[in-house]
Amino acid sequence: GQPTPPSNGSSAAESSSAGAAVRPRVALVMKSLANEFFVTMAEGAKQHQAAHQSEYDLIVNGIRNETDITQQVALVEQMVAQGVQAIVIAPADSRALVPALRRAQQHGVVVVNIDNKLDEATLADAGLRVPFVGPDNRAGARAVGEVIAKRLGRGDAVAILEGVPTAFNAQQRRLGFEDAMRAAGIRVAAVQGAQWEQDKANTVSAALLREHPDLKAILASNDSMALGAAAAVRQSARAGQVLVVGFDNIAAVRQLLDEGRILATADQHGDQLAVYGIEFALRLLRKEAAPEDRQTPVDVVTAR
């Protein structure tokens, strides 16, 4: 339908009877809804919609696990079949989602990319432009890494736990950590993947601790993995001697931060991330904005 003219919520609420027909429907497509980060994101979006009921309808969906790209593509297609006006997506893979999103654009659906940036080259190949609304993961990770660097000396050894390697933000965080370490002259003794998951991170961290008795810190690319690493540190009987950092600032790490078992994490304001994306999509629908990338804030969080 025709996008409604710009309004600041109150006026649209009055024309709700007619509004039902013209109220745009926005689909939020995320990664694993089993990950706290996205649960927070979904809640932020739902609250926003509740406060702006007259402006848009919201359908929230996620996939079963971080790597089920097929299901995410299927979700995009179903949302197009549904006839939504906009899709706000946190892609599970930076390349594989591009064709489905192109098809969506071809159907006139407005697409906004949040959280994990789509691959520039692939977008160019497919000949489409998708605005990215999200943080600079590399900078965020570098900032977290710098907290660690201050506590360590030159030549100390650290290990990095990587997320799903096909995700752009996973790659960026790894690079950010490496930047910080290089700058401080700290040695990265090992980089291993743990798929963003707590269990895997635990097994891998336990092994790293055994293999590298000189390890001074573990830099986890998200907090789920940081939790797994912290447990491994405790079990290794080197508690207090090995520092851990994470990324996301989920509720579960707060106490660990206070106890000093996790030194720092990055808050990328997950609850607002989708909201930024949705607001941007609505503005695009109303033709108020041009499809450009928008950077959102990341803040380092340490013990209170």
């Binding site: 929230v60 696990n65 790209i69 097929t70 079949a81 190949d125 497919a126 096909t166």
Partner: protein, 342 residues
């Protein structure tokens, strides 16, 4: 008759077997298999009805063509899985083999610039190879196919990572001839091929010597062996077939995604086995139907799509999916009993 002393009077002259040859035997003749799965079809219809009520946009041509274009990969894998299970085996490697096939397809197409037909053959070829290895090891050392194919699950996944360097590969429109919807029909050639293969699978199972051997082996392998039929080649063949179909699924998958995802098909084996078992095929072998498995696929796919369309939360999705899977099988069991008692 009445003149005879009582003790001489038999009941009905007992009939010899062939007099009653007309009685139906499930799954062997005609559309038996399809008639058998009416309970499942009922569940499917109920699901569609339910989602049509809860979401105003569900009951539309677009929804169904979208679904049709999503399911070919799962559908062909399920054809192979049905046959393997009927023969008393199991193939856990299908998801990984699909990913490996897809990876090979992606690499040969984009990096090595092979012509499309050659790349497609390589993809299926990899599936054939994986299936052959599954079959040969299973048969040669008579170890459970569960273990062999679990090993292959890991190995093929590793292979897919190696081939793609653990990165997704963008393929573009090279395979649009397979995956893009056809103008008037709205469904893709992949769907048509998958539908054809479901029918072919059912024909293979019920009308060919090979299919009958599969059923026989799954029922009593030793009896088959002692009848002078070597079960091993049949078993190797069915694993190879399953591998080939997983490779084909790789093509469909790439055509659909326009890119290669080395993580594709994780956990697909469970969905496939679930579809087959919902369709009434026995995990112990000896009994089953390809068409009924396909109905199982439809139930799973419609359920997923419907839940996404109404925007159900993740916990709701999980719980509803669980309940529907169990209910479908209970309804089917009821229907069979009801039909038997008529």
């Amino acid at each position: 008759m009445t003149g005879l002393p009582k003790r001489w009077r038999g009941s009905q002259p007992s009939t010899s077997v062939d007099d009653r040859a007309q009685q139906a035997y499930p799954g062997m003749r005609g559309r038996g298999a399809i008639r058998e799965s009416t309970g499942l079809v009922l569940v499917l219809v109920l699901l569609v009805a339910l989602f049509s009520v809860t979401s105003e946009h569900f009951l539309s041509r677009v929804t169904f063509t979208t679904l049709a274009n999503q399911l070919p990969a799962l559908a062909v894998i399920v054809v192979g899985m049905t046959l393997v299970l009927i023969a008393g085996g199991i193939d856990l490697s299908v998801g990984s083999v699909m990913a490996l096939g897809a990876a090979v397809l992606g690499v040969t197409l984009t990096r090595w610039q092979w012509p499309v037909p050659l790349a497609l053959s390589a993809c299926v070829g990899v599936g054939v190879l994986a299936g052959l290895v599954n079959g040969l090891i299973t048969v040669r050392w008579s170890i459970p196919s569960f273990i062999v194919t679990l090993g292959m699950l890991e190995i093929a996944r590793g292979g897919a990572y190696v081939a793609t360097d653990s990165r997704s590969v963008f393929v573009g429109s090279a395979l649009d001839g397979v995956g893009a919807p056809l103008p008037v029909l709205g469904v893709s050639p992949a769907f048509l091929v998958a539908a054809l293969l479901v029918v072919a699978g059912e024909v293979l199972l019920t009308r060919t010597v090979f299919g009958r051997y599969l059923v026989a082996i799954g029922t009593n392998r030793e009896a088959v062996r002692l009848s002078g039929i070597a079960p091993a080649p049949v078993e190797v063949a069915v694993f190879t077939l399953s591998g080939a179909l997983a490779g084909l699924a790789g093509i469909f998958h790439v055509a659909y995604l326009e890119s290669v995802d080395p993580n594709a098909g994780i956990g697909l084996e469970l969905s496939a086995i679930a579809a087959v078992v919902i369709g009434g095929t026995s995990l112990m072998g000896g009994r089953g139907s390809v068409v009924a498995s396909f109905v199982g696929v439809l139930i799973i796919v419609v359920l997923q799509a419907g839940l996404a369309q109404i925007g159900a939360t993740e916990p709701t999705k999980r719980i509803v999916t669980g309940l529907v899977i169990i209910t479908a099988v209970i309804v089917d069991a009821w229907r069979r009993r009801w039909q038997k008692n008529r």
